[in-house]
Amino acid sequence: MAKVRESVMRIVFLLTALMSVLCVLFVCFFLFTNGLPAIAKIGPLDFLGGIKWKPESNEFGIFPMILGSLYVTCGAIILGVPIGILTAVFIAFFCPTRIKSAVEFVTSLMAGIPSIIYGFFGLTVLVPLINDVFGVRGKGILAASVLLAIMILPTIISISQQALEAVQRSYFEGAIALGASKERSVFFVVLPAAKSGVLASIVLGIGRAIGETMAVVMVAGNQAVIPESVFDGVRTMTTNIVLEMGYAADLHREALIATGVVLFVFILLINMLFSILRSKERVQ
C-alpha cells in the first residue's frame, strides 16, 4: 500500500514538473498556428519589411514597430545599464550596512511597482517635462526610453548584485593585499570576474524592455510610422497589439497575433542568450 502511494506520488510530482514544459509547448503552438498563416497570407517580406500599417486598406507592414521596439529598447539600455550596474556595485560593496536593508527594500519596491503606475507617472510627469524642456510633443522615443530605463533598473541591479556577490572573496582580498584601493579592486578585479552575470542582467533587461507594454503605450505616442528623431512618436510591437486587439477582426486580428509571434521569437532568442550567459557563469 505504502509502496503504491510512493510511486503514485512520484508520478504526480513528475507531472507537475512537466507542466512548465507543457505550458511552453502550448504557448508556442497557439501563437504559431494563429499567427503564421497571417504572415503567409500577407507575405513574410511585406509583413516584416513593410513600412505601412494601414489595416483599413489591408496593408500590414510591421517594420516601423520592429524598429520602434529596437529604438526604445536601445534607449533604455543606454540610459539604464550604467546606472543599474553602478548601483549594484554600490549596494554590493560601498553601501553602509545601516542603510543596506532600506536600499534593498527600495529596489524590490521598484520591481514591484506595476507597469501601469510607471506608465501613468510617465504620462503625467515625464511627457510634460520633455515638452517643457525641449519644446516638442513629449510623447515619443525619449519618454519611452527614459521610462523603460527606470523600469529595467531593478532587474539589472538585482542580477548584477547577485553576480558581484558571488565572486570569490579571495579575488577582492588578493587585489587589496597588492595595495589596490577598494574602488580599483572592485572595478578592475571583481567586476570583470562577474562579467557573464552582469551581461546576463543586461540581456534580461533587454527582454523586459522589449516586452513591456502598458507603460510604453502611455508615453510613446503610438504612431505607426518610422520615427526620424528621438522626440518622434513611436509604436512598438507590444503596443501595436494592445492598441488594436480590442476591435480588430479577421486578417487584421491575425496580423496582430502575428506581431505577437515576431515579438515572441525575439524573446526566445534573448532567453537563449540569457541561458547561455547564465550557464557560463555557473561554470566559472
Binding site: E6, M19, I116, F121, L204, M214, G246, F264
Partner: protein
C-alpha cells in the same frame, strides 16, 4: 576631497567611488520622485466615493476591482502553487542529478519566466477564451496568470527546498520514514518560509498585472457572479482610468491604493526572507 574616506587615494578611485554613489542616488531619487509624486497628487483625491460599494461611471469606485483582484489572485495561486511546489519537490527530492529531463524542465521554466505579459495575454485569449470557450472571465484570467507566475513559484520553492539541510532528510530516513512522509512532514515545513516568500512575490506580480488580463479577464467593473464572469482587477481599472483621461484625480487616488498594496506585499516578502536567514543560523 580631504575627508577621511578618500584620504590618500588616487584620483581614479575617488572618481569611481563618486560615480557609484551618484548612480545609487539617481536610483533612489527616481523612486522617491515616483512614489512621492503619486502620493502627493493622490492622497488629497482619496475620498469615500472611491470606496463606494457599487461602481458607477461617476464615482469610479475601486471596491469592485479590489475584490476582483483578491479573487483573481486567490484563484491563480490555487492553481499555480500546487504545480510549482510539486515541480520543485520533483526537481530537488526525486532527481538531484541533472539528466536530460531536468535540463528540459529548467529550460522551460526559464523560458516561461522571460515571456512578456502581452504574449501571455495573447495566448490566454487564443487558448482559454476562444478555444476552451471560457470567454473573457475570471477563470481565463487566473489560468493565464497562473502560468505566468508558475516559474516564480517553482524557482523560489526549489531554492527553499535546497536550503533545507541534508541532515533533516537523513534523520527522517533513519527513523524509517518513507520519502513522502519525509517530504511532507519534515522538508516542506522546514522550507515553508521560503515557499511563502515566493508566493508573496507571485501575489505582487498578479496584483500589478494588466497586459495579460485585458484580453483574458476583460474590463467589466462589476462583482463577478461566477468564475465565468468578466472582471477588472485594480491594475486594469487603473489602466482604464489613466487611458480614458476623464477622471485624472481618481487615477491618482487609485494609484496610491495600488502603490500601498504593492509596498505592503514587498515588505512582507522581505520580512519573511529575513526570518529565514535568521532561522538558518541554528544549523
Amino acid at each position: 576631497m580631504n575627508n577621511k574616506a578618500t584620504q590618500g587615494k588616487d584620483l581614479l578611485s575617488v572618481i569611481l567611488r563618486g560615480i557609484t554613489v551618484a548612480a545609487a542616488v539617481i536610483t533612489g531619487v527616481t523612486v522617491a520622485i515616483i512614489v512621492g509624486y503619486i502620493l502627493i497628487k493622490g492622497i488629497p483625491s482619496i475620498d469615500s466615493s472611491l470606496f463606494a460599494l457599487n461602481y458607477t461611471s461617476d464615482n469610479q469606485s475601486l471596491t469592485t476591482s479590489f475584490i476582483n483582484t483578491v479573487l483573481m489572485t486567490a484563484l491563480a495561486l490555487v492553481i499555480a502553487v500546487p504545480l510549482g511546489v510539486g515541480a520543485a519537490i520533483y526537481l530537488t527530492e526525486y532527481t538531484r542529478n541533472s539528466g536530460k529531463l531536468v535540463t528540459l524542465i529548467r529550460y522551460a521554466a526559464e523560458t516561461l519566466a522571460g515571456i512578456p505579459s502581452i504574449v501571455y495575454g495573447l495566448f490566454g485569449m487564443l487558448f482559454f477564451v476562444v478555444s476552451l470557450r471560457m470567454g473573457f472571465s475570471l477563470l481565463a484570467g487566473s489560468l493565464t496568470i497562473a502560468i505566468m507566475v508558475l516559474p516564480t513559484i517553482m524557482r523560489t520553492s526549489e531554492e527553499a527546498l535546497l536550503s533545507v539541510p541534508m541532515q533533516y532528510r537523513e534523520g527522517a530516513f533513519a527513523l524509517g520514514a518513507g520519502k513522502l512522509r519525509t517530504v511532507f512532514r519534515v522538508i516542506l515545513p522546514a522550507a515553508s518560509s521560503g515557499i511563502l516568500s515566493g508566493m508573496i512575490l507571485a501575489i505582487g506580480r498578479i496584483v500589478g498585472e494588466s497586459a495579460a488580463l485585458i484580453f483574458t479577464a476583460g474590463t467589466v467593473a462589476e462583482f463577478p457572479t461566477s468564475v465565468f464572469s468578466s472582471t477588472r482587477t485594480l491594475s486594469v481599472h487603473m489602466y482604464s482610468l489613466a487611458s480614458e483621461g476623464l477622471h485624472i484625480d481618481k487615477a491618482y487616488a487609485t494609484a496610491v491604493v495600488l502603490l500601498a498594496l504593492v509596498a505592503i506585499i514587498n515588505a512582507a516578502a522581505l520580512l519573511v526572507m529575513r526570518r529565514i536567514t535568521k532561522g538558518r543560523q541554528h544549523l
